[in-house]
Amino acid sequence: MSEVTGYRRPYPGTQPDYLFPRYASTVKRAPTKPLIVLPQTLSELTGPLFGHDDVKPSDADLTKQHAGDPLGERIVVTGRVLDENGKAVPHTLVEIWQANAAGRYPHRNDQHNAPVDPNFSGAGRTLTDTEGRYRFITIRPGEYPWRNHYNAWRPAHIHFSLFGPAFATRIVTQMYFPGDPLLEYDPMYLCVPDEKARKRLVSTFDWETTIPEFALGYRFDIVLRGSDETPRDVSPGE
């Protein structure tokens, strides 16, 4: 059995910097001093594990959390969680949250003048299966305005939070929808220079998971850092 000795460094251009002034809130929240490179130790190569005690199957259907059906277009969101070596990441917790069909979150800080949907909370979670697959049923989220710049609108998106096998594989990201005209104006989507990396945040329409006469399918695969199989110097300062 191979022991994980470390996780790969990000490929240049594929991960954002902390300071990205086009996204205005980064200016007062980004560290100003250089990060210290941390050798990956047992503390970073291990991480929390979750199980079926933590989630129930109904947590993955966001359309069945209230007495009535939420408004909007029902969709199926599926994908695989893999690592950079192409290996499935099984039994890992996937948490999602999103706006309702009108582009409104049921949150005290969301003052957007669009209706709250009493039948939609917008939160879901599941565990990936043995092949790294996950599946949610939800509704297509609406676009909504924000105050980053004049006439700023967020493209439709779903937030994803994943753990993977280790502290070092933790990631929060966002899934977008194909053909959204707002993407090319969105500072968050544009936060990395690598265009291919950005496009990987956009889900693809998927006939295979589309349910006839019920819901369109969208596919979004998520790749976590992969273990570095070649031995690396774990003490960069020495």
Binding site: T26, R29, A30, I36, S161, S235
Partner: protein, 188 residues
Amino acid sequence: MSLYATTSQTVGPYLHIGLTWLIRENLVGPGVTGEPVTIQGRVVDGDGKPVGDALVEIWQANAHGKYAHPDDKQAKPLEPGFKGWGRAATDDNGVFRFTTIKPGRVPGPGGKLQAPHIAVTVFMRGQLKHLVSRIYFPDDPANAEDPVLKFVPAERRGTLIAKKTGAKGALEWNVMLQGAEETVFFDC
């Protein structure tokens, strides 16, 4: 490498909707041994204002220095009441708190033992990727020989070491995003 890791994106301002179902501020279950500690802190932005929409997660070994994870192959006891993971959201004053135990020492680079520490991730609107830091413990002689603290300039190490606040086991550790007291953040 055949694939590239997915690009990180911010949790945004409405993170509570998706993430607070699993708030875990008390890590200590029945039968857990070790020195009890409470860690309270504030998250503060570059204007000195509290960050009321941050999420702090912690990960630590048990009092024996063993992680509840299959890749920890050390011959040390696990305790069923201690998983070692916590999650807290900040309140309007930027305050978060955890109740836990001081972890034991775990191996670091070159097999040298690390000083007791807690690994920390911080998420918030205005950060396109999460921050990584560590909490160390005050007055622990092992801090002087810790192989990770060694990488940190001496004048900044204090930002990683929690402070005693009076009551037994009460500690304070803040996340200062910017400024003279800016917390040390890691690239791991």
